[in-house]
Chain length 336, copies 2
């Protein structure tokens, strides 16, 4: 098969998004700005208390795959939906974006995963995820040909929550490295880091993962330090490439002997932070797999993240390639 | 039961919204800015060609009911969903907005209605509606108590497309008038007017409908005239109240012997016109049922329409009551 830029592996989730006041989070015991894992019963309860919502395909790595395709890159996705209506929506959206997605849907229960996302007036999102069919992702879902064909295989730390996805990831990493490819992960969420700290550290130390994305809270949670600098130093020591995002303060890329800092783009209005980290990874990895400098990779990350937080929902409504051309980050296509 | 401000009756539809270029509309034979009725087979074909989308509860009268509730008014809705996942989403969203919605869902096929909405770069929306379960709305779905309790019963002209909804509307109008209430309709769409011109004219002439909402294209289509002035004169002659919206040029309210013109609100960016007319009706009817002047009613209509076209999707993401307070259209609540 043709070479692919990035294979993304993650939980296939449809987002159900609403706005709420901070008091709602407190009253319903939702940890703000985090991914709260919930069971079917709590999902039903929260939905009954949730305001009017909109639905959009989401899931961290799925968003990253969609973003890469929106930039014009070639991406694929492994993730498990059920054979139900939300699953159809998920399949439609990611395929329509141009992402290669062929993972077999699950027959019968549980249903396709959904995350109820509450966006507070400060634009911060608090997620409540019922994993549903995602718990069935396993090594049998690894398409070796796609892994071997992908310059980078990227996965989300969230995959340590379902029981067998980590086996799939270890297989992917092996295949990728056997084919001279690179492996990348995002630490996903500070509480996720808390749940799987030793395993994540081991993935990095063992060289299973080459490139790590984290936001500052995740990086500091990983090393249980209050010093961002110490966390970056520690990541840099064990990774080929460590990328730490700092919200409105931009991002830092650390590669042995090289540190690159890039600013966030100016935004007009912060609407919804959902997908910010995922789309940063889209921009960075699109640049990386196109052979750009680390600085340019980080700038493309800033651009994609900055655009997605100015809209509702985790995937860009407009073409990132066009946005890149308009902003001068991507060269105009030459008329032939 | 407690008095209600407005009962809205319409097709219960979940919107599937994407952006596209004008060439897509041409290639797929979609009439721009109109509601195109489609069957299940074409729905499947168009979905296969559609880009990544977001889902949001819609339907013209349902949007109006949601907008009235968002203003703090008391609204109810009659409309038919199926007992499926989209139906659950619809039921959730409208109920969570505070709208009374108790119409029995349909068991078995057809499924809940959906409209694929293509938003072009100019913000205009072109709809492709598969009516699904809506075709089963009939007189048996009329809850007489709710009709009798509602100051205004408002319905959409689109209800002439399904086979038996018009019977339900005639029943509603009879009950409303028997209880000293008013009946209102929107002409919905210029092509819808074309399909049912004589019946719509008869509803107005016979006094079945007291208050008519139309945009300029619908008003001119109704009387098959190129003169907006002539159309408004003709509507005024047969209606208690005629309201004609003029997009960015505001709206005109015509009542025997009185003409009120109101401007559109200034907007920052036109994103998606979906729901503009529906939300204008929300603002107007909320003002009307609160005993406000015609000018204030029209101003509230402009406010709601102006807000909804600056976001994706047909129902306001933010509280219209709060927007009304912030803009000075609605008085601050007095601290007690």
């Amino acid at each position: 098969m043709d070479e692919l830029d990035v294979l993304c592996v993650g939980n296939a989730i449809v987002d159900i998004i609403t706005r709420c006041e901070d008091t709602f989070l407190i009253e319903n015991n939702i940890t703000k700005a985090a991914m709260n894992l919930i069971d079917a019963e709590r999902a039903q309860l929260l939905y009954s208390r949730m305001g009017p919502a909109v639905e959009a395909s989401g899931g961290s790595a799925g968003n990253t795959a969609a973003g890469i395709a929106s930039f014009g890159g070639k991406s694929a996705f492994f993730g498990k939906v059920a054979r139900d209506h939300l699953g159809e929506i998920y399949q439609h959206d990611i395929t329509a974006q141009g992402v290669v997605f062929k993972t077999n849907p699950l027959d019968g229960p549980p249903p396709t995963a959904r995350s109820m996302i509450f966006v507070t007036p400060d634009g911060e999102r608090s997620m409540n995820t019922y994993l549903g069919a995602c718990v069935e992702l396993g090594p049998e879902d690894v398409d070796e040909e796609i892994v071997a064909a992908s310059k980078v295989t990227y996965f989300e730390g969230y995959l340590w929550d379902p029981p067998r996805a980590k086996e799939a990831i270890r297989n992917c990493a092996q295949i990728a490295h056997d084919n001279g490819r690179e492996v990348s992960m995002t630490l996903s969420d500070p509480f996720c880091v808390d749940r799987y700290r030793d395993e994540f550290l081991d993935l990095m130390r063992s060289g299973t993962v080459d490139i790590v994305f984290a936001n500052e809270h995740e990086a500091m949670s990983l090393y249980q330090t209050a010093s961002l600098e110490a966390a970056i130093d520690a990541m840099e020591a064990v990774c080929k490439l460590a990328i730490v995002t700092l919200s409105e303060r931009g991002s830092i890329v650390a590669q042995k002997g090289e540190r690159v800092s890039v600013e966030a783009i100016e935004i007009r209005e912060l609407v919804d932070t959902t997908g910010a980290g995922d789309l940063y990874a889209s921009g960075f990895l699109h640049g990386y797999t196109s052979g750009r400098s680390l600085k340019d990779c980080a700038l493309l990350g800033s651009l994609a993240a900055g655009l997605v937080i100015q809209q509702i929902g985790p995937r860009p409504h407009l073409s990132l390639k066009q946005a890149g051309i308009d902003s001068g980050h991507i060269a105009e296509p030459v008329e032939s």
